[in-house]
Amino acid sequence: MAETTAKRSIVPYGPQHPVLPEPIHLDLVLEDEKIVDVLPNVGFIHRGLEKLVQKKDFNEMMYVIERVCGICSFVHGMGYCATIEKVFDVEIPDRAKFLRTMWSEMSRIHSHMLWLGLLADAFGFESLFYQVWRSREQILNMVELHTGSRLISSVNKVGGVLKDVDDDKLKILSKTIDQIEEDMLRVQKVFFEDYSVQSRLKGIGILTPEQAHALGAVGPFARASGIPLDLRMRGDNAMPYIDFEPITSNDCDCYARCYVRFMEVLQSIDIIRQCIAKMPADHTLVTPVKGNPQGEAFVRLEQPRGEVVYYAKANGTKFLDRFRVRTPTFANLIPLCETIKGENFADLGLLVLSIDPCISCTER
């Protein structure tokens, strides 16, 4: 009977829409309130950053690649440098490795906290939103203390890092992360047990492990579907010296994504603590590289949003031939469309948010 009564309508949604965090356009096929099909469309904020690689030399390009995304800026800079280091075949000093790991975990904390706040906003819990962002402010202050800038830190360099951190700054950081952990543990119950939160998140946007695997989901989105895929397990930078187990959940819904990201904040705090404790005493920060890069390299890293892939091709001059970034949101778009199908129109904002979309990353 449903077939005869339901009438299909197509609703264009975005790129400008009050509930959308990022400029993505979706063509939705609706049957009453239910979404039966969806077609994504990106390309509204393409900036052609990858093309700039032919105009800026490989050292300057670091500052361009950092600006691919404001939130994962540090990891983009680090990934670019790691790729060029792989082309040069140099090993960075140990202290630089630990600093890179520590700073990338700091950026993971503030990215996940941003997401948790936006999630609280999306399900209409304004005070929780501000509570999380209030804690996030502390970690941003720490990033500024360590690198001189709140978001775009510009501390990477091909061959190492540019800034060192003294013991005082490490002590301040460890005190601050204790404070953040305490604050987060206080709101943990709200995210995990609160009635209104559960009623908005549980059972919404199911992505089964098979679908996640077949469609190539990455990052917390895949881990929330029970796939223990975390590139940090490959042991980049200081990760071989650090105790680490990827966090997964078998619920496969929006609640699971919230759970995974929340627990990852606590896990990153733990990783930072280990980094501080094991920080090498040798203050060498840069392995000098000589000449121009020649050859090509791939690097895979775990960003706050998931797996990112960098590819560089160098021709022996100071300009690279090609530099390519495959960002996690790009990989997560297709699984996202799968989760949207069959859901209510009213949950759409929440569903799009649940992959932590970064469209400016995707389009570069």
Binding site: Y63, S127, S149, S154, V187, V190, E193
Partner: protein
């Protein structure tokens, strides 16, 4: 009930604690040490080598060797600190305080002080004199060596001729 009152401890804590925000601008903001506000040039140490202008990712710097000026367009500057890394004299550094808003993009020019220019000219003069002296000495030595070589050659030429004359 347990499902409902989870946020209450946080609310109570917030009610009885200091606000997280400050009353800027009445209460000035305290920057952490080493924050990147804007670039300053310790211009008297600058040698106008142009490393900073060539390497700046946004090309917001210009130098003029003739007038001893270094100009920065602060509205284009990213405060990335790359110029401070490449500067051979380490005369660039970042200090706190961001560029204030203005109706249009403007530049700031640093000019080398008279004394520094005079000192530099003096240094150049001394260096030039030294170079000249060294060059003269070298020329003299070369001339001497040439004369000696010529004398030796003449002697060598004369020697084999002697048996032939016998």
């Amino acid at each position: 009930m347990a499902k409902l009152a989870n946020f209450t401890p946080t609310i109570l804590k917030n009610l009885f604690s200091k606000p997280a925000t400050t009353t800027y601008p009445f209460e000035p903001f305290k920057y952490p040490e080493g924050t990147r506000g804007h670039i300053e040039n310790d211009i008297d140490n600058c040698i106008f080598c142009g490393m900073c202008t060539r390497n700046c990712p946004t090309r917001c710097l210009t130098i003029d060797k003739a007038t001893h000026t270094w100009t920065i367009n602060r509205f284009d500057c990213l405060a990335c600190e790359y110029c401070t890394v490449v500067c051979p004299k380490k005369c660039l550094h970042t200090v706190e305080g961001y560029q204030e808003p203005m109706p249009e993009k403007s530049t700031v020019t640093y000019t080398m002080s008279e004394e520094a220019i005079a000192a530099e000219a003096e240094k150049k003069r001394i260096a030039a004199e030294k170079a000249k002296a060294a060059k003269e000495a070298a020329a003299k030595k070369k001339a001497e060596e040439e004369a000696k070589a010529a004398a030796e050659a003449a002697a060598a030429e004369a020697a084999p001729e002697a048996p032939a004359a016998e």
